[in-house]
Symmetry: C2
Subunit: 172 residues, 2 copies
């Protein structure tokens, strides 16, 4: 399955596409959409929407995954972040993708195996799991991490479904 992970932000929206076949992850692409703070806010939201729509058209992922946000410095920054998330998520759902959310703890657990791992550990594990030559740009790395989390969870859901349905042995 091919997953598009995103890390939306009003200034920088990271994205990462991974593919999981069997037990192996493959890195497909990652990058970031930068918006210009001098532009009108509506134009910046459109840039995020259009950028992600173009990524979806190019790589045709099966799902979009995004990290849940619980902490924001204050209401005003939460509003800005929310607007960017809204634009990004609508790009996914308008392209027909299911959109899943994961908590930061779920992402860390999936990538590092430890829910309280530090940011550095997550970035190193993303690099290692995907065989990247170097650590990806911070927002793109976070996007790859949530994509990995979704691919693992989706596999687990499929396996659970199989187990429930036919009680077969768990396969990887």
């Amino acid at each position: 399955m091919r997953v598009l992970g995103i890390d939306p932000g009003s200034r920088i929206t990271g994205y990462g596409i991974i593919e999981k076949i069997g037990n192996r992850f493959t890195h497909v692409d990652n990058g970031a959409i930068f918006t210009d703070s001098h532009d009108e806010f509506a134009i910046r939201l459109q840039k995020i929407y259009r950028g992600l729509t173009a990524v979806v058209e190019e790589y045709r992922p099966d799902a979009m995954a995004v990290e849940q946000v619980f902490l924001a410095r204050n209401a005003q920054s939460a509003l800005k972040l929310g607007q960017a998330r809204g634009a990004a998520i609508v790009a996914g759902v308008n392209a027909g993708l299911p959109v899943a959310e994961y908590t930061a703890m779920q992402v860390k657990q999936a990538v590092v195996g430890y829910g309280h791992a530090g940011k550095d550990q997550v970035q190193q594990m993303v690099k290692a799991l995907l065989g990247l030559p170097e650590i990806a740009q911070a927002d793109a790395s976070d996007a790859l991490a949530v994509a990995i989390c979704h691919a693992n969870s989706a596999l687990l859901r499929t396996m659970t479904g199989t187990l429930l349905q036919s009680n077969v042995r768990r396969r990887r």
Copy 2:
């Protein structure tokens, strides 16, 4: 000029379309998009996006206007509101509309003539200015108010531009 005012929210997104010809306002339509809290958040954002896109296609406004938000109860509610705003604004800008923001004080000043007017006064003036048979649904009424604010400001901008360019007499 025809203006679409919106009052986005994760539960209810109000909209109102008005037309200003010369010095007169005409009410075109108003309504609200309700999202179901049992639906996935991405589906709710898509409903806002699609609902407003349909409104734009039906009424072909010249501009979208939205009230700026400064107050939110807390960061979590600001994030939710921001997501709804992001989806709504992208619907406007993707349809080719310029999107303008106004503070609550600007809206009150434009509608009631007094920046500290109460919510009741604004609703009554919206009803009176547009000749509505009764006060519109609260979110739709707020949307009509910001549309009126934009129509007045845009007229002012046009007049100012005309005055600056050619020093001609003010026309209505």
